[in-house]
Amino acid sequence: MADADSSEPEQQLNPKQKIEIAKWFLLNSPAGEIQYISKDLKTILKDDNVHNLAALEAFPQYNKSHMICLEFPDRSSDVIISSFSEVSDNEYLDPRTAQVAIVDHVKQVCTEARPASDEELPSSYIEEFRCALDAEIMKYASEAYPKGISAVYCVKGNDVEEPGSDFELVVLISAARLSPNNFCNGSWRSIWNIEFNDEDQSVEIKGKLLVGAHYFEEGNVQLDASHECKDSTLLQNPDDSALAITNIIRQQESEYLAALEASYLKLPDTTFKDLRRKLPVTRTLFPWHSTMQFSLTRDIAKELTIRK
């Protein structure tokens, strides 16, 4: 066997190439399926070292882009893993509880928690806006998403102490539903950037909504939907701003859901029809018993075009 291997050296991948391939599979795992992909890869690679190195690089990236939610060890609340909440490679901030979660990316668990330091938290002036918005968003998310987890972060102007400067908050809503036993997984991610502009006393709101679903019982079908939108409102006191922003987010997300539903409703009779009709243009099953005539008509048509 060893001889057979060495006779085809060009087909042998070096460990670095194997790691790259393994990472590609891990990063392209559908929502909630990276552990399954990882397990299958381990079997295929037959090289735990390569597998571990790929996992160490791919899991953090996957966890952040999928905005997975992990429970604190004391089960008091959840932390969203994302680039907005990242304090260091394995530390993620939960502003609501002012805690930093220490996570094991590959196992996808939060192993420890520590109180956030003052530098990691926004100033009390910003915190008023953040906290008011967090409360409104949490209320909305719990109504709209049965499994939704939300968080609000300050991503710019953490140290602004009083009116007169710009700052920016980010609202995340992450909802995942995993039912591998029913061969079905899905996730909804909302990312809202909220810019508070001091000069024109306005709040610019930009949203990115990402929805995915995977159904794989005796097949493999995936939905990918994404939508970007924006809106704006006036800068007000923390409580009124929070209400106005949450209303905009609620409305935009509801409209988007309605648009998704509309896309599904249009499928059978319009969109899908452009790929393949349910019935032939003749509206009856294809006349296989009298196909001789097709060949004949084709022959005649061919003859005619040739003679022309």
Partner: protein, 256 residues
């Protein structure tokens, strides 16, 4: 192999090509199994002599050339390539003509190709292929799709005739992707692949083509239906589980 098929079941259908070549390089010892069990999107080539497009697959490939069903010639030209017997080639010509009409009636466009070859147990195998680009820029009559691909592969084994009947074993695969793109809904994309089988013992009185055609039409219809109703339906259900639409009704009311 089981793990490889597990991966293929999870990885996004739009990445099938990349995933397959990655697996081939990771496990070259399983290359023939992988190539026969994983369906790849179909490719099309133009037969220069007849100026008609034909579909490429393993079944019309010999070395690096592909046989066109329209002229029975290999492209690029190939010395002593494999050809079906004269009798089978005649059936292949007829099947290509008829299937092109079938394709027209169901797909309003698209490319079709049929290939046949003798197998080891006195029967033969036929492969019916359809590739349709349903996008606005392709053959989409209604112009709803920003992107739309449908590939159908029907491989049917026909056993030897026995007392006027023959056994037909059909394996059909459909791979599709469709994307719509507009301001209110952003990008909406569904893609997937499913494969089903069907076997029948049929009288050959009306000819093989008739029997094969009816089975293909039936199974293709079933595949389309289950994609539409079951598979797309399940992803829609998932969206509604993530964010139940019941809330829509209350949302429309002003907050007063």
């Amino acid at each position: 192999m089981e793990a490889a098929m597990g991966l293929m079941r999870r990885i996004h259908p739009k990445h099938t090509d990349t995933a397959l070549s990655a697996l081939l390089s990771l496990m070259p010892e399983h290359s023939s199994d992988l190539l026969s069990q994983v369906d790849q999107p179909l490719q099309v080539l133009c037969d220069e002599e007849s100026a008609k497009e034909f579909i490429l697959c393993e079944y019309n490939r010999d070395a690096d050339s592909y046989r066109s069903p329209w002229t029975n010639k290999y492209q690029p030209p190939l010395e002593d390539g494999l050809y079906p017997s004269v009798e089978l080639r005649n059936l292949e010509i007829e099947a290509n003509d008829v299937f092109a009409v079938y394709c027209d009636q169901y797909y309003e466009g698209g490319v079709s190709s049929v290939y046949m070859w003798e197998d080891d147990n006195e029967g033969f195998v036929a492969c019916f292929l359809i590739k349709k680009d349903g996008s606005r820029s392709g053959h989409g009559r209604r112009g709803y799709l920003h992107e739309g691909q449908w590939d159908a592969i029907h491989v049917i084994e026909v056993g030897p005739e026995d007392e006027g009947t023959a056994r037909y074993c059909l394996t059909s695969t459909v791979m599709l992707s469709l994307t719509t793109n507009n301001d209110s809904c952003g990008t909406f994309s569904l893609s997937g692949s499913i494969r089903r089988q069907m076997s029948m013992q049929l009288s050959v009185a009306e000819g093989h083509l008739c029997n094969m055609g009816r089975m293909i039409e039936e199974l293709e219809g079933k595949l389309r239906n289950s994609l539409d109703q079951v598979y797309f339906g399940k992803t829609r259900e998932m969206v509604c589980t993530l964010r139940p639409p019941a809330e829509l009704a209350t949302m429309k009311l002003p907050d007063s």
